[in-house]
């Protein structure tokens, strides 16, 4: 190797700059992921403005059909991306590898299981109770990451994480309506399952990505999620009767467009988890609730309220604490 003699201090400074730049890139990916997910929610919500998908008779099948179409279109966009960047052979190799099984398991937890549980939770217990529980998923993921991945999370980052979760709850809170139904506790249990599902997905996906390319791992995730939705979840939830009406209605464009922002969001999220760790990526990702409100205020008739401003301030404070000093992120885990 040809080497140039240089002062150790210069090399150390360059090395630190390179490591910090890598960590900062991960944080930017996490932020873009949150912004795209906020945009994704606003676009996808348009799907429920059609008569067929807002019909109370399809309270479970409609959102699951939307979820199935979203993940299927997202898998397609990722195939295009991976084809364009020369990763299709890598996708085939990855699908046959052992770490891909971890990603597929994560896809099951974070896709169909968590989403179906969330929908059932909202139905049985109402959003006022389900939303604050499911907002805890970054905290759950961080606990799992510190246990199973030995991820380093300092006390300051834990404080930031709590603030981000509280900010998310403040922004999304809706007052409870009416008396509690007889299935209330079942709904709460379903919300807990959804929270655990999303938390587990982050840890399993990150563990798999230790040895896999994030963009390819994500394609595996979306293909798995799409297959399970189409072959298991939809038949169990009532069938495929809403697929054609949804795609051929006036809002048929919503699915590929939302899936594009969803694929971009997930792509950034998976890369961020791989570059800055599960806890930071998930905590910054939860800012989607803030971005969602901002996009809604710009493109729809949602008004900015005091609680939204308060939630935004709390989330921003939390993010500053989580990000802290990027120099601390050059080694994410406590392993030898």
């Amino acid at each position: 190797m040809d080497t140039t003699t240089a002062p150790t201090a210069t090399i150390d400074a360059l090395k630190l700059r390179q490591d910090v730049s890598f960590a900062k890139k991960g944080l930017i990916f996490a932020l873009i992921s949150g912004m795209c997910w906020g945009c994704n929610g606003v676009i996808l919500s348009l799907a429920f403005t059609t008569a067929v998908l807002s019909n109370n008779a399809y309270w479970l099948l409609a959102p699951l059909t939307v979820g199935a179409l979203h993940d299927t279109c997202s898998a397609f966009w990722l195939l295009v991306f991976n084809g364009f960047t020369g990763r299709l052979k890598e996708l085939a190799r990855t699908l046959r590898s052992k770490p891909a099984r971890t990603v597929m398991l994560g896809a099951l937890f974070g896709g169909p299981i968590a989403m179906s549980s969330y929908m059932l939770g909202v139905k049985f217990a109402g959003p006022a109770y389900v939303m604050p529980i499911t907002a805890l998923y970054p905290a759950v993921a961080s606990i799992f990451a510190s246990i199973f991945l030995k991820e380093r999370i300092c006390p300051r980052a834990w404080c930031g994480l709590v603030l981000c979760v509280v900010g998310g709850v403040v922004i999304g809170f809706t007052p409870p309506e009416g008396a509690l139904g007889s299935d209330f506790y079942l709904g709460i249990a379903m919300a807990v399952v959804a929270t655990l599902g999303w938390g587990i997905e982050g840890v399993l996906a990150t563990s798999g990505m230790d040895l896999l390319d994030p963009a390819v791992a994500l394609n595996v995730r979306q293909l798995t999620s799409s297959a399970v939705y189409m072959l298991v979840v939809l038949p169990l939830a009532g069938g495929y009767m809403l697929l054609t009406p949804a795609l051929t209605s006036s809002i048929g464009w919503v699915f590929p467009v939302a899936a594009f922002t969803g694929a971009l969001s997930y792509l950034c999220w998976y890369r961020a988890m791989n570059m800055t760790g599960v806890s930071r990526a998930m905590t910054i990702n939860i800012t989607y609730s803030l971005w969602g409100i901002l996009f809604s205020a710009v493109f729809t008739e949602v008004h900015i309220t005091i609680s939204i401003i308060l939630g935004a301030l709390v989330i921003t404070s939390g993010m500053i604490l989580v990000v802290g000093n990027p120099k601390d992120m050059t080694n994410l885990r406590d392993v030898r």
Partner: protein
């Protein structure tokens, strides 16, 4: 090259090149793995350098040292960690 790794994902293969305990940089790793991914533009030096940074961040590799090359660019040299050896063993 470990024959058990044939047809494996590139990032996994990159990590596996360190199983012999040697310290390597991106260029050396690229030379070792390129033959297993013939005519694939995905198997580039830049992709391998990115995978090495990622493998280092999650603890599979450790930085063994660094130097400046003829052009003044920083070159990092990596070595596998105990965690990395265990992770690869489980992944095969």
């Amino acid at each position: 090259m470990d024959t058990n790794m044939a047809g494996k994902p590139l990032k996994m293969m990159v990590a596996a090149t360190f199983l012999d305990g040697a310290a390597r940089n991106a260029e050396t790793v690229h030379q070792l793995v390129a033959g297993s991914y013939p005519s694939e533009r995905y198997c580039s030096r830049a992709t391998i350098a990115e995978h090495l940074k990622s493998l280092k961040a999650v603890g599979v590799l450790q930085e063994d040292g660094s130097y400046l090359d003829d052009t003044g660019a920083l070159v990092s040299v990596y070595r596998i960690s105990e965690y990395g050896v265990e992770k690869l063993r489980k992944a095969q």
